[in-house]
């Protein structure tokens, strides 16, 4: 009984965090921090730093990864599932509603015009995301080569993206082994 109570608290805490934060990722961190460290005392400030580092180094979404890690720490695997489900429950419901409505309106002329604008803006947002990522991801000459190579391999459709990622990971592992021994 006690365990179910804990899981429920985890779940509804993260429903609140996941359902009402627009923008995802970094926007969620301060709110997660407040709920986890201050309100529920599930982790200390220092443990929270470790959790964020871990969440950043794993694939996936920063905010959801942090939630999963906190859940694991508090209540093991069931806790991880409770927190993760909490983070995505409301957003998925919102998406289902919007996508059902979207079908009805997407052919209106005004909506078509709106999307002509949105497409240009999305291209700019993606470019801006890259500019922000350059500083933390391209720190030396080797990383610059990887960045440029990945760009051209994909634009010229030489290789499927997942192979590009795998090759870059292997190249980096081999290089870092050589650097240690040299």
């Amino acid at each position: 009984m006690e365990k179910i109570k804990v899981l429920w608290t985890l779940y509804h805490t993260f429903v609140k965090i996941g359902g009402f934060t627009v923008g995802g990722g970094y926007a969620m961190i301060p709110i997660i921090q407040r709920e986890t460290v201050d309100t529920h005392k599930w982790a200390t400030e220092e443990e929270m730093t470790d959790i964020i580092t871990l969440a950043q180094s794993m694939p996936g979404i920063l905010g959801i990864n942090a939630a999963t890690s906190i859940g694991t720490k508090v209540a093991g695997i069931p806790g991880a599932v409770a927190c993760t489900m909490g983070m995505v429950s409301l957003p998925i419901i919102f998406v289902l509603i919007v996508s059902a409505v979207f079908e009805q309106f997407k052919d209106l002329t005004a909506v078509q015009y709106a999307f002509a604008g949105i497409r240009a803006a999305v291209a700019a947002l993606i470019l801006h995301a890259v500019i922000r990522l350059l500083k933390p991801t391209v720190k030396d000459f080797f990383q610059l080569i990887i960045f440029v190579a990945a760009f051209f391999l994909v634009v010229l459709s030489v290789l499927p993206m997942q192979y590009v990622l795998l090759i870059c990971a292997f190249a980096a592992i081999i290089l870092s082994i050589f650097r240690r021994t040299a």
Binding site: S99, T137, I146
Partner: protein, 194 residues
């Protein structure tokens, strides 16, 4: 449906560096399966940015719904979160060791710039498609057939706003940029400028 789940599972496994890293991967998966065009996907991405939650998971659910209904939405969304869910659980149990593993560190050292390169490629393709609606990707000869001045101007404006404008010392919320772009599109379209 299984194809949808495995597609998003793989995307979830390879998404490093935030939600935008998923954009090129989802687009690639959709194009190879012929489920959606580049423009349709950009529309969905724009809408999902305005909804609460992580844009990558939202987009997965939206795409799943459009291609396979409600169960498709769930399959895609859970496919996208399952890899990181399992990896984060494992990593939490070994929290100290993850930061020390040489191989993992090495892999991330190469994956981070590669992910940036892929996002850059997606931005390039998207910009190309909106700027030169009549030319296919890298068809330089057809550029002269039609350049959308509206798209070029709006792209430049949106990029400058994101880069330079600060509200209370914070960058502008992307949602505002999308809403502004939608409004500009409606005004210019109604005025016959598109």
């Amino acid at each position: 449906m299984i194809s949808l789940f495995t597609m998003f599972f793989r995307i979830g496994l390879f998404t490093f560096g935030g939600g935008y890293a998923a954009y090129p991967l989802i687009l690639d998966g959709l194009l190879t399966r012929g489920w959606m065009s580049e423009a349709q996907f950009a529309d969905i991405w724009g809408v999902c940015n305005m909804l609460p939650g992580a844009v990558a998971v939202n987009t997965a659910a939206f795409v799943g719904y459009r291609t396979h209904g409600v169960s498709g939405a769930l399959a895609a969304a859970f496919g996208a979160i399952l890899p990181s869910l399992s990896l984060v659980i494992i990593a939490t149990y070994f929290i100290a060791r993850v930061n020390k593993s040489r191989i993992l560190k090495g892999a991330f050292y190469g994956l981070r710039p590669a992910a940036s390169g892929l996002i850059m490629a997606a931005a390039f393709r998207m910009a190309w498609a909106t700027f030169f609606p009549k030319a296919g990707l890298l068809e330089f000869a057809k550029i002269a057939d039609g350049v959308s001045i509206f798209a070029v101007a709006l792209f430049a404006a949106a990029f400058l706003v994101m880069l330079k404008v600060k509200i209370k010392n914070k960058p502008v919320n992307p949602i505002l940029v999308i809403i502004g772009a939608a409004a500009t599109g409606i005004v210019c379209g109604s005025a016959g400028l598109l």
